[in-house]
Amino acid sequence: MSAVGLAVGDGVVLAKRNLTRTLRVPDLMMSSLIMPIMSTLLFAYIFGSAIQVPGVSYTEFLLVGVFVQTVVFNSVITGSGLAEDIQKGIVDRFRSLPISPYSVLIGRTISDLANNVLSIVVMVATGLLVGWRIDSSVGEAAAGFVLLLLFAYALSWVLAVVGLSVRAPEVVTNASFMIIMPLCFIANTYVSPEGFPAVLRVIAEWNPVSAVTQAVRELFGNTNPDFPPGAAWPLQNSILASFLWIVVMLVVFMPFATSRYRKAVAR
């Protein structure tokens, strides 16, 4: 078997191990199911009563924002899972085995992808209940979900670096939030960035989360063609921009995470 095939094969074995763990900790399962439901309901009914966006209903606008926010938040699990394995000495054991350093990280990111699929299913169901609809073809809708999952997968590698760099698993969440809070909020997820102060507006326009949110909205038919998303290139070409962001994140963070992993020892 080729080296890549072997690394992925070992990754799948490890992903199964992670999923078995998740199934055995009901709390962890519940949080990745309940959080998306809560976010959907809270934003739809609380903020939805006050926020207006031009061209579409707020629910229609909001739901994709919540989808993206949820997969971004889920990426923290990648970091905390790795940090916990380091602390328990399990990474020491894995590193003493003749497997590719990529395998453990592939295993982790694959199982977190599965977790994201579950979260998205739950959110779609909740979204449909509060009146959100997909107004596009099956092909476009499928492309929208694939894009969302690809972005989530790439982001897992970013947060893997955080998990492999911190000194204790307890720190992962806080450290991660310093990255993902601005990522989620200085963006077009909940409101249109048109009215942001100039600096924040530019950041929001070039934020990968904004590109992905805009792209998925377009693919789900949740946008109004009469109200364009603004003049910035990543929003005008959101699907291309999203793919570019995903490629850049993977190209930079896969080797980066792997080099951190090679140095990780129980502390």
């Binding site: 072997l6 078995t20 763990r21 328990k88 000495g89 020491d92 395998s103 129980a266």
Partner: protein, 335 residues
């Protein structure tokens, strides 16, 4: 000719504020058991991690089973088994699942991994608990499972880092038995420990490490000989006489007598056994010091350790559980 399973030459590993290994040398012959003995922070775990390819040395040369650990870590990982300081097991998986996972990652295949897992569970007397999650295992059972994990691939070189630290006496006995069986099967074993009894019982040879350097190396007997002859040990009726007794006994020893408050004992290094016991007791008697017990014995590894490093092993100093009474009775030397 004996071939070396582990060779380390002039190994240096520095961290920001400490030099963990400072020109460390070691040679472990194939098929033997080497006990790497040293206090906390002496560099034992760093050495183990270098041998197991978990960290790279800053300089020096290390070969395991003839393979350079820096140049070819992957090949080293094919032939070693490692069991770290805390049991590196997955608490949410069952005993069987833990071993099967490791087997899969050694590429034994589904069937191979299953068969090997069952074999090891049997060997380590864990078959009955195979289907239970590790959370429900006792500390000793986890250790045994972790040890089993290190053996999945039948390694040429087995590396165990403090395999019994934190275990109660009974679990320690069970772990020793398991290690003893491995040793009998002929694999090379490097074992780090803070317990002198452990090194004495399991290892063919003992290497003493302190401040990142090898400070002694030999069989337990050789090390005991190295620190010299014998020990005269007396127990007194009254702790108040300890200082007096030290002064009285000093002229007949060839080293500084050491007193321990708690058990009211004085230990004096002596050159030869002949006549010293009688002489010592006579002198104490003349000084009016009441003796309740007196003996001449060979030095223990604890004496060796004290002589070599200038301090007791941490475990002995803490009166560590499970260490022979003979080795723990010296709480704090009175100076």
């Amino acid at each position: 000719m004996m071939t070396a399973a582990i060779v380390a030459r002039e190994v240096v590993k520095k961290y920001a504020s400490v030099t963990a290994l400072d020109g460390f040398d070691l040679e472990v012959a194939e098929g033997t058991v080497m006990g790497l003995l040293g206090p906390n922070g002496a560099g034992k775990t760093t050495a183990v991690r270098v041998f197991a390819t978990l960290i790279q040395p800053d300089s020096g040369h290390v070969e395991v089973a003839g393979i350079d650990v820096v140049a070819n870590p992957r090949a080293v990982r094919e032939v070693i088994g490692l069991s770290g300081q805390y049991a590196a097991v997955d608490e949410l998986l069952t005993g069987y699942e833990n071993l099967e996972l490791i087997g899969r990652l050694y590429h034994l295949g589904k069937k191979g991994a299953k068969a090997r897992a069952e074999e090891l569970l049997e060997q380590f007397d864990l078959t009955e608990s195979a289907g239970r999650r590790l959370k429900e295992y006792s500390g000793g059972m986890r250790r045994r499972l972790d040890l089993a994990g290190a053996l999945v691939r039948k390694p040429k070189v087995l590396i165990l880092d403090e395999p019994t630290t934190g275990l109660d006496i009974r679990s320690r006995e069970a772990t020793w038995e398991a290690i003893g069986e491995l040793v009998a099967s002929g694999s090379t074993l490097l074992l780090t420990t803070q317990y002198l009894e452990e090194a004495d019982r399991l290892a063919h040879r003992i290497a003493v490490i302190d401040h990142g350097k090898l400070i002694a190396n030999g069989t337990a007997d050789e090390l005991k000989d190295q620190v010299g002859g014998h020990r005269l040990e007396v127990a007194l009726r009254d702790a108040a006489d300890l200082d007096h007794a030290r002064a009285v006994l000093a002229p007949i020893g060839h080293g500084e007598p050491v007193a321990t408050q708690e058990d009211r004992r004085v230990v004096v290094p002596i050159a030869a056994a002949g006549g010293v016991l009688v002489e010592g007791v006579r002198r104490l008697d003349m000084a009016g010091i009441e003796v309740i017990d007196a003996s001449v014995r060979r030095p223990t590894l604890d004496d060796v350790f004290l002589a070599l490093t200038g301090h007791r092993t941490d475990k002995a100093a803490q009166n560590g559980e499970g260490v022979k009474a003979e080795e723990t009775k010296n709480e704090e030397p009175v100076r």
